[in-house]
């Protein structure tokens, strides 16, 4: 139904605008390449061979479809604290079971196939938590392309296991020391590399942000999450969920889950930003605490001061530690189709432990924010209601961070 004028699924326009957001705000050197990428992406989308190869790799290399899981013990645990007959059923889309341990690989498969189609011979990417870096290094190893990953020096220090994974996979990891040395600065450095190497280099952006067509393209590749979940939920329960919940840094796992459901008006949606130390302190919640502006190729909500200088974000989760958000989320917030909330570091840590102990699943700190949010919602929803959350990454990478936060010596 994407061609209905009142659909929420027909964005962006041909210039990459989601309402007033999105667009193409890049240096002129990159513009011709960004336009070429757009043309090539349209051609690839229309090419059944491209889709077949993408789906084949998702099935046999990534391990899709990922399971849809009813979290019975977590549901019971939350019902114990809920009023009578309240306490919604909690279901998880298990994208943490993907090869490489997060949803990031879905997008990387799509983009590297596009890079090869465009004749590019070198891949670059930025990474925060390292999940996108690992996923990019993985597909580069799989297709035999050299790979350079830009990663903030702060993130290199707090995500050592992923740094080593990338190196094992043959990638060169370049620590970025400018700014606060986190994801934003890694993205700046990625853009600087790209502008100097446009002739042979493809930039695999890891989230649903950046210049058009990246937000649309990343969304489309990640929409496999929502398409599978919709079909699986209908097959298992005969109905659609009442509420979708997903964590948001740039917002790729959330838009991947939400997009296929956007025109199902009975399905409510909640995006969960990182409130860090608290929304009145340092945080990473661009929608809750930011204003529209222009950064990294797109117009969207940004954490910034009165002069338009970009603020440093903070979250215990490196993957959410970014002062912007994908432009489609900015638009979905303003249209009211999706609600957004924010969860603090402490709340996320509690949810992390809760899932470990009730379900035997160690989640990444990113989806721990979604879990903390759904805990708050579940008790106010009837028992027959269904909450579906995206478990977008596994927590192996985070155990050192969590241990430190909990005061445990390892």
């Amino acid at each position: 139904m994407t061609d209905q004028p009142n659909s929420f699924r027909n964005q962006p326009d041909e210039r990459g605008h989601f309402g007033p957001y999105g667009g193409r705000y890049v240096a002129e050197t990159l513009m011709p390449l960004v336009l070429e990428l757009d043309r090539e992406y349209r051609a690839a989308k229309a090419d059944p061979a491209f889709t077949t190869q993408f789906e084949d790799l998702l099935e046999h290399y990534v391990g899709r479809p990922s399971p849809l899981y009813y979290a019975e013990r977590l549901t019971e645990r939350l019902r114990a604290d809920a009023p009578d007959n309240m306490g919604a059923q909690i279901w998880f889309k298990r994208d943490e079971l993907n090869h490489t341990g997060a949803h990031k690989i879905n997008n990387c498969i799509g983009q590297i196939l596009l890079a090869i189609r465009m004749g590019k011979t070198r891949i670059i990417a930025e990474t925060g938590a390292g999940q996108h870096g690992v996923a990019t290094a993985t597909v580069c190893a799989r297709f035999g392309l050299p790979c350079v990953i830009y990663m903030g020096a702060t993130d290199v220090a707090r995500q050592q296991p992923n740094v080593f994974r990338m190196k094992l996979l043959g990638a060169e990891v370049i620590p970025v020391t400018s700014g606060a040395a986190t994801l934003k600065d890694a993205m700046n450095e990625g853009l600087r590399d790209w502008v100097a190497n446009v002739h042979d280099t493809f930039y695999i952006i890891g989230t649903a942000a950046g210049p058009h067509p990246y937000p649309e393209m990343v969304r489309d590749f990640q929409s496999v999450i929502g398409k599978e979940a919709r079909e699986q939920m209908l097959g298992r329960t005969g109905r659609l969920p009442d509420l979708l919940v997903a964590a948001i840094g740039g917002g790729s796992n959330a838009i991947g889950l939400f997009h296929p459901f956007l025109d199902d008006s009975e399905v409510a949606m909640l995006g969960v930003e990182a409130a860090g130390h608290g929304l009145d302190k340092q945080h990473a919640a661009s929608l809750a605490g930011g204003f529209p502006g222009i950064l990294h190729g797109n117009k969207t909500y940004l954490l910034q001061d009165d002069d338009g200088q970009i603020a440093e974000a903070h979250s215990i989760s490196a993957g959410l530690d970014y002062p912007g958000i994908g432009p489609e989320h900015a638009w979905l917030k303003e249209t009211g189709r999706v609600e957004y909330t924010a969860i603090t570091d402490t709340e996320a840590l509690d949810a992390f432990q809760l899932l470990c102990r009730t379900e035997g699943i160690i989640p990444a700190l990113e989806p721990s924010h979604a879990i903390a949010a759904l805990v708050k919602c579940a008790r106010d929803m009837p028992q027959e209601a269904i909450i579906l959350a995206n478990l977008c990454g596994r927590g192996d990478k985070d155990i050192f961070t969590v241990a430190e936060a909990l005061g445990v010596e390892m």
Partner: protein
């Protein structure tokens, strides 16, 4: 005629000199550039995320912001420059977000009141012209566009549509201050650009020495030098003016006389 048009109407090519506002004593440094012979001043608006800049200008941005430079101070520097140098064209160069933060009309008015002649917005593609272009044009401020080695002939008309002041040819696909372009490629590019526009053509990125500047000035209407000046500010701090004056003197001499020497 506008100040930019008057400057480029002279029979000799122009030295376009860049400094980051708020990095060092900017007013004293700008005066030194003009005294040394700079024809056009490009004043950089500091930004936290200067993603098209190399280390020299990145660090200048960081130093300026660390000193607490606000947008209001950038305009104060511009306004004071205009009062001291009524005839020298002044161009603001920077990134889109600080320019649109309070709305394009606010920015255009503030720039107009400060005596700014043109604006270069690195990450405002012609495709997003509406965000800033109309507001600047309403105030008679030129939106100066950039063309690059990747801008092909099919795209050039889109880049030139709405362009004013002069056309800034970025001679290398890359960031500021790094590699230098091969002279032959610049000559080819200038020849190609002249077939599409009557705007003056200024060439920049990676130009550091009088020899390079002179070679470019034989074919271009202006030569932009940025990182080399910014590095002098970093190295010499309060003593920067004399070094800036000296380098601007060497560069402007080479540029102003390039065509005479070639003839």
């Amino acid at each position: 005629m506008t100040r930019l048009a008057t400057t480029f109407a002279q029979p000799r090519p122009a030295l376009v000199a860049f400094l980051t506002a708020g990095d060092g004593d900017t007013s004293a440094n700008l005066d030194a550039l003009v005294e040394g012979g700079a024809d056009v001043i490009e004043l950089g608006m500091p930004f936290t995320d200067p993603m098209a800049d190399g280390p020299a200008i990145q660090n200048a941005n960081i130093r300026s912001l660390a000193r607490g430079t606000k947008t209001a101070e950038v305009f104060a520097i511009a306004r004071a420059f205009r009062a001291r140098h009524p005839g020298t064209p002044l161009v603001l160069m920077g990134y889109a977000n600080p320019m649109v933060r309070r709305g394009p009309e606010w920015f255009a008015s503030a720039a107009h009141e400060a005596g700014v002649d043109g604006v270069i917005c690195v990450d405002l593609a012609p495709e997003e012209h509406e965000d800033l272009g109309p507001a600047l044009n309403d105030k008679g401020i030129a939106l100066i566009r950039l063309a690059t080695p990747t801008t092909d002939e099919a795209r050039l008309p889109a880049v030139l549509d709405g362009a004013g002041g002069f056309l800034y040819y970025v001679s290398v696909a890359g960031i500021t201050g790094k590699q230098q372009a091969v002279l032959a490629s610049i000559e080819q590019a200038i020849e190609r650009l002249r077939r599409f526009t009557d705007l003056p053509l200024a060439v920049g990125f990676g130009v550091r020495t009088p020899e390079q500047a002179a070679a470019i000035a034989r074919v271009a209407d202006g030569v932009v030098v940025g990182s080399a000046f910014v590095e002098l500010v970093e190295q010499h701090g309060a003593a920067a003016p004399e070094h800036l004056r000296h380098l601007a003197g060497q560069l402007s001499h080479a540029i102003h006389n390039a065509r005479k020497l070639a003839a």
